[in-house]
């Protein structure tokens, strides 16, 4: 924990800038299973976007464009809710252990 800030450098009253958790906590490292989106099966119902706990289903112009793997925790809620089986959960790193 080198580089801890002194009290003079901390913001007054514990005020922090909005939405900063996104840059600070890359929760994608928690993931054991990775969601894979099959665009050809997708009917753009947006159910996966609506139910994603980590705001990790990317949309543009009201359409799903993929996943934010930096924050997706691999819970699989999107795959469970998808009415067309367009999302598949596969083991992260092909199921191999991160540490040898």
């Amino acid at each position: 924990m080198a580089g801890l800030k002194g009290w003079r450098e901390l913001p007054l009253g514990g005020v922090v800038a909005g939405g900063t958790a996104r840059d600070l906590n890359k929760t994608g490292s928690w993931r054991a299973e990775r969601p894979i989106w099959h665009e050809e099966k997708c009917i753009q119902c947006l159910q996966c976007w609506l139910h994603c706990p980590d705001d990790s289903v990317l949309i543009r112009g009201g359409k799903v464009t993929g996943f934010d793997y930096e924050h997706c925790k691999g819970c699989g809620v999107c795959a469970a809710i998808c009415p067309k089986d367009a999302i598949e959960m596969v083991p992260e790193r092909g199921g191999e252990c991160a540490r040898p």
Binding site: G19, T20, D55, K73, G74
Partner: protein, 315 residues
């Protein structure tokens, strides 16, 4: 009525609750928070008491909130938002502010049913203009699944452990939605995380009323309920289908049940999928306990039907 497209459009314009929070994988709380915030087009100020949501979204020096958000203590979210709302009214009166701002509390069942109840009751009685959303996951999940007054009968909790003396929590859960309705506030509703568009509609309807608004949302906790991490939606849906958690509204004292399951699904179907009720299916006494749980579900459902009949929208 905000459709899923409208909600998506609003989030594309400005994300109010970002990723990077440290709630468990598969937690249902962010689904409720995002849907509620996207259902309100006006600027929003949020307060939260202590709880999973608070600790996991505001790890210093970051925050997942992209709207003004305040936390003070466990017991006083409703009092805090009362103060914020009163300050806003003064600023408007003095002509220092003229935009319409909405005030929302996101609290857990611990901060609502138990510890925050008197602050909530006070704020409701004083008639502040705010929306209180209870993310009801039926125990103190943040500190490791201690029982709360929202915990259902027979559910295992670390402070109501299953053993020879007791079969999990011995008492029935408190009906907080009805306690809040008894305050005579303009809008009270019960919702579930499995019915997010229903929730968005409820938020929109609630916002038409001046004064306190309350929505009690059943919010699955895969950790505390001992269910698979991808099952949050199915769990809540089954709770609605078995009539354990009816979706209804009390608008200016008028009852309306939003969804009546066509078939009678035994509550057992919901209980057997959760680890916190596992002992009911192993213990020889389990059958009788399940019958008692079913009887209570039926009693509350019948009571609700009668209330709708007597004090319904048409009644």
């Amino acid at each position: 009525m905000p459709s899923i497209k409208v909600l998506a459009e609003r989030e594309e314009r400005g994300v109010r609750f970002t990723g990077g929070h440290t709630l468990c994988a598969g937690c249902a709380e962010p689904m409720v928070v995002r849907t509620v915030l996207n259902a309100i087009p006006d600027p929003v100020v949020v307060a939260s008491p202590t709880g999973c949501l608070e600790v996991a979204t505001s790890r210093f020096p970051g925050t997942a909130w992209n709207v003004p958000w305040i936390h003070v203590a466990f017991e006083n979210a409703a009092a805090v938002i009362s103060g914020v709302e009163a300050a806003y009214k003064v600023l408007r009166k003095k002509g220092l502010l003229d935009k319409r701002v909405r005030f929302v509390v996101f609290a857990g069942d611990g901060g609502t049913y138990d510890i925050g109840l008197q602050a909530l009751s006070g704020a409701l009685e004083r008639g502040h203009d705010f929306l209180y959303v209870c993310l009801n996951n039926e125990a103190y999940m943040n500190t490791g699944v201690q029982r709360s007054s929202a915990t259902p009968k027979c559910a295992a909790a670390t402070t109501a452990p299953v053993g020879e003396a007791i079969p999990g929590k011995p008492q029935e859960r408190k009906d907080l939605t009805e306690i809040v309705a008894a305050h005579g506030i303009p809008y009270v509703a019960q919702a579930a995380v499995s019915h997010l568009i229903d929730l968005a509609n409820k938020v929109e309807r609630a916002m038409n009323y001046e004064g306190p608004k309350f929505i009690n949302v059943l919010t699955t906790c895969p950790l505390g309920w001992r269910t698979p991490r991808d099952s949050a939606i199915q769990q809540a849906k089954q709770a609605v289908e078995t009539r354990y958690w009816p979706l209804y509204e009390v608008i200016e004292g008028r009852y309306k049940i939003n969804y009546k399951p066509k078939e009678h699904v035994p509550v057992e179907e919901w209980l057997k999928t959760q680890g916190r009720f596992r002992h009911l299916f192993r213990d020889p006494q389990g059958k009788e306990l399940i019958a008692q749980i079913q009887a209570e579900v039926d009693r509350r459902w019948e009571l609700l039907l009668k209330k709708e009949q007597c004090f319904g929208v048409g009644g």
